[in-house]
Symmetry: C2
Subunit: 369 residues, 2 copies
């Protein structure tokens, strides 16, 4: 059982320089001062970062595993990120590649409150993939977004989320939008019999997000979206604790994934801090993640980890209806497929296209994969 | 007078591909859907991002200037960052290079509440550079940190800040540390007659930071440090509004400066959201910023900008006493010099070394530069 935090950095360097560079990172991420002048035995023995392993990773890079005292984190998620990558994020030759935590710390944070099981239960889904779409574009009025939500919900999607660009803007203020869209989706769900959920997107400071949580609950929502890198991980976890009835989907905006591996940030840190689902750019869409990266990210979000529930992977970013079988074959049933613009492109046939999406997922047999 | 937000991205590309790439970024950072299917006139005319200019920037890169409707931001700093760089932060070929705002938006956020003038007034300094050091290493007990603070304060520094790794840890809980260090620095200030300030470092979620603000005020502190990329910009600005008596120094941890130009993030966005001073890694220290980058960052934090006060540049990161004249010549008097480990290395002679630092800054004549 590990008692220390372990961060693995992928570092550009040479065989001659990497040992010294690894030591410098270990110092930067812990005491951040010349170690020779530290006299305190506890600091020397426990607090200074330790280089545990250095392995070649190809293409002029090395994986440097450094352990840090869990004591340096206390109980705060933001401080965990600070210890894992804070000042080192300012160095161009390093990415945070992976992390591991003591079980006690993982359990303290608690991870997903609802997880895949909770997200399936909300929409009465068996062991199948879930479906999702997005309300766009920003700049529409609340009633126009609600009309769109209604037409999407008639297609019997599982989840309909706000675009992450929808915030608390004059054209569709949060309180007005959540009422209008919540009501529209509820009305469609009553007609179809499928309990489609509307997922409002939170923004702003903690008190704003608390108000948004209250307004979401009042509008009958039980699932919301949050952007952890904008909100701050500490605020995310606090919301998960204060509103245990709300499931949270994490949006990757500002996740700067080129500097932190999505496997570590989305698959582990977002999950750790209460995200029940993690949205990420699927391979072959508008973003540059490789299939291998997507597979590792999904595995990371789902893998057994200190007894935490799994967070459902939500591949997105330019997906289309014709890719549904391929994505289901790739990810298996533990996935939520998110198609936004690809459905909206259907114009007048939006509900029909949406229904085809929902049906394709419901009827896909994972046995044949 | 600009009415739209302008973001400048530095994009890797070729003359053949850059126009299409620029359009794709403009769409990603605004409506995030195929524009051909958008029928709403307001969205088409105002909300879709506009490519305003593309210019070659050398070494296979282009500067792409895109304007966005201020309406998309509403009144929230986190949403501003979301609109400026959110999803595009996931693309490896783009950095956010610069930004410009409508004056109304800048004034709404308000920038530094105290600025350079306020930070000079607190320590009775004329038109000279300010001095600062840091309490380290983490892992020391509160009374040990307080003893260190006392010895630094006897050297008549202007500001003594917590290391950004000091949070709310068992070894030096925030409440205990702020009382002990606040008292120690006050005692030293009474002895020397120089009003040295202790600057505690905030961490955690918004409610924790509010408690830390109350505890800081109770301990006689009027200046604090915050890490905007951990706290969330929205929470930073709210704290600046709720505690107008506290001056805020911004720490760059997790600022991932390789993906957002420090000029834009530290010099503009941190300042915009209430930071009175911005700490950054000086050239020639442990980090890779160039002299040119440091000069541009300092200029950006100080430049006239929509009537906001200037934020004082705080170069740091491995600075030493022998560099003081060079740094003062480089930055002029509108600067706070921060030397941490370089002073702590003096061991038994800590107070004498600190006094030499404070004196070197006080006696430097900017006329000769």
């Amino acid at each position: 059982m590990k008692s220390r935090i372990e961060a693995t950095y992928r570092v550009r360097g040479t065989a001659e320089t990497i040992a010294a560079r690894a030591e410098a990172i270990a110092v930067e991420q812990s005491v951040e001062m010349p170690v020779g002048i530290i006299t305190d035995r506890h600091v020397r023995d426990e607090i200074i970062g330790r280089v545990e392993a250095i392995t070649e990773a190809g293409e002029g890079t090395f994986d440097v595993r450094i352990s840090l005292s869990a004591e340096t984190v206390g109980e705060d998620p933001g401080q965990l990120l600070n210890m894992l990558f804070g000042n080192t994020s300012l160095h161009e030759d390093v990415t945070l590649y992976d992390l591991e935590l003591p079980e006690a710390l993982a359990r303290l944070f608690g991870g997903p409150r609802h997880g895949i099981k909770g997200l399936r239960a909300r929409v009465g889904a068996d062991m199948r993939a879930l479906t999702c779409s997005a309300l766009k574009p920003q700049g529409l009025a609340s009633d126009e977004l609600a009309a769109l939500a209604y037409r999407l919900a008639l297609g019997e999607l599982d989840y309909i989320k706000d675009d992450h660009g929808l915030a608390d803007q004059a054209k569709s203020p949060f309180a007005e939008r959540v009422r209008a869209c919540g009501e529209a989706v509820k009305r469609a769900a009553d007609e179809t019999g499928h309990p489609t959920r509307y997922v409002p997107s939170f923004n702003g400071h903690l008190d704003m997000m608390r108000r948004q949580a209250e307004q979401s609950l009042a509008a009958g929502c039980d699932t919301i979206m949050i952007a952890p890198m904008l909100a701050g991980l500490s605020n995310c976890l606090l919301l998960a604790r204060e509103f245990p009835e709300l499931a949270m989907l994490a949006h990757p905006t500002m996740a700067g994934a080129a500097r932190i591996s999505p496997v570590a940030l989305l698959g582990k840190l977002f999950r750790l801090n209460g995200s029940d689902g993690v949205i990420f750019p699927n391979h072959g869409g508008r973003f540059g993640y490789s299939p291998e990266m997507c597979r590792r990210l999904a595995s990371s979000a789902l893998a057994p980890w200190h007894g935490l529930q799994g967070a459902i992977p939500v591949p997105a970013g330019g997906m289309t209806l014709d890719r549904v079988p391929e994505m289901l074959s790739f990810y298996g049933p533990d996935v939520m497929l998110l198609i936004g613009g690809g459905l909206l492109s259907a114009g007048e046939r939006l509900t029909e296209e949406t229904a085809a999406f929902a049906q394709a997922v419901r009827e896909y047999s994972h046995d044949r994969a």
